[in-house]
Symmetry: C2
Subunit: 225 residues, 2 copies
């Protein structure tokens, strides 16, 4: 258990969905921590020291021991602070939770990044949108309960914060529709339930500044074509 003497630090940036995952789980478990807002255009010595391999946020630091990669951090936190577990206790359901968390990174996030970057190449963009929709369809079929974690949010829901919050921002900026209530009613309802969860609601970044940052980035992409 954490005590006040412990160092619990999150090096992050509010615009990152991967940082947001860690933020949500720390709040869900009621762990006090220091948030270090990194300027990713001018990375701190601390970030370079703690994550020399990727030089990326999030980095989670517990008593001077750094951990990178958001899903790895989530599992570490769940193993270290047992309250409000985000992984199931049964090994098979743990395996499924890991599988779907990885699926979100490998398929949903990856496809969305490609959608954004293929601006100006209609054929490529169409392919990427289709890939994204196929992946969302797989997740739609997988959703059986209120949350992926059942009645409570778990690691898959938290990994999927990208789908609930970032994807709609991307849709509004690009004018593309991937996650809609018509196409994916279960996933859309999930996203609303998830965003209304008291811990999530309080700890997702404010939309307007995030929208402005992403919009500026997207405009710079268009200008570079």
């Amino acid at each position: 258990m954490a005590t006040n003497q412990e160092e619990v630090k999150l090096l992050g940036s509010v615009k990152s969905p991967f940082v947001c995952r860690v933020h949500i789980v720390l709040k869900l478990k009621g762990i006090e921590f220091e948030f270090v807002d990194e300027n990713l255009a001018n990375k701190s010595d601390q970030l370079l020291k703690y994550n020399p391999v990727y030089k990326k946020v999030p980095v989670f630091v517990h008593n001077d021991k750094p951990i990178s990669e958001s899903l790895v951090i989530l599992e570490y936190i769940d193993e270290t602070w047992k309250q409000n577990p985000i992984l199931p206790s049964d090994p098979y359901h743990r395996a499924l939770a890991r599988f779907w968390s990885k699926f979100i990174d490998d398929k949903i996030v990856a496809a969305s990044v490609k959608v954004v970057h293929s601006v100006g190449d209609e054929k490529e963009r169409e392919k990427n949108v289709e890939e994204s929709i196929e992946a969302l369809q797989i997740l739609e079929n997988e959703l059986k309960d209120k949350f992926f974690g059942g009645e409570e949010i778990g690691i898959v829901d938290i990994a999927a914060v990208f789908i609930a919050f970032w994807l709609p921002v991307i849709q509004d900026i690009t004018g593309l529709k991937m996650l809609t209530a018509e196409k994916f009613p279960k996933l859309y309802n999930w996203s609303q339930e998830f965003l209304n969860h008291p811990i999530v609601k309080e700890n997702i970044p404010p939309r307007d500044p995030l929208f402005a940052i992403y919009k500026a980035y997207y405009d710079s992409l268009i200008a570079s074509k």
Copy 2:
């Protein structure tokens, strides 16, 4: 614990380093299992049923419950059969083991695949070889003991079977040198120690047929350019 009544099945192909990971850990733990050799050019109904998302091997089946993704399977096996653990018991070292296993997939395996597929494009290939060497250098710096797992092999070593066995095959086929004793003495020594481990030695595929399969694939790539 496994009993003789249990169904423990591995859907695989001897040419896959991801399947080999699961094979090694099952043998390391002394778990009896049925190996189902999949013809990947003509996938079985069983494979499509058990892994509808990726339709890929390995699929591990335990009492009719299927699991995909080799690192997810490895963790499941380690949680279900406790003998000869491949993950450290301490949460921080577990996190590091997960980080490095993922690094091997995201950086080393991915770069090697790109090296192979960039045949015919010298500039692209040079970039990919460099990427591969940079990733190997990071791993070289990380290796402190006989194995990544310390005195015994662990999940990182098993994930790295690709580096010990598949990468040299790729090097011999492409004529490119990435992992050499001169460039990476620690990693090279590790690869020899690892391949000489009694369980590994007995359970890696025979080199000649594997070489022939990969060579034929590489020749077909060249022909298609």
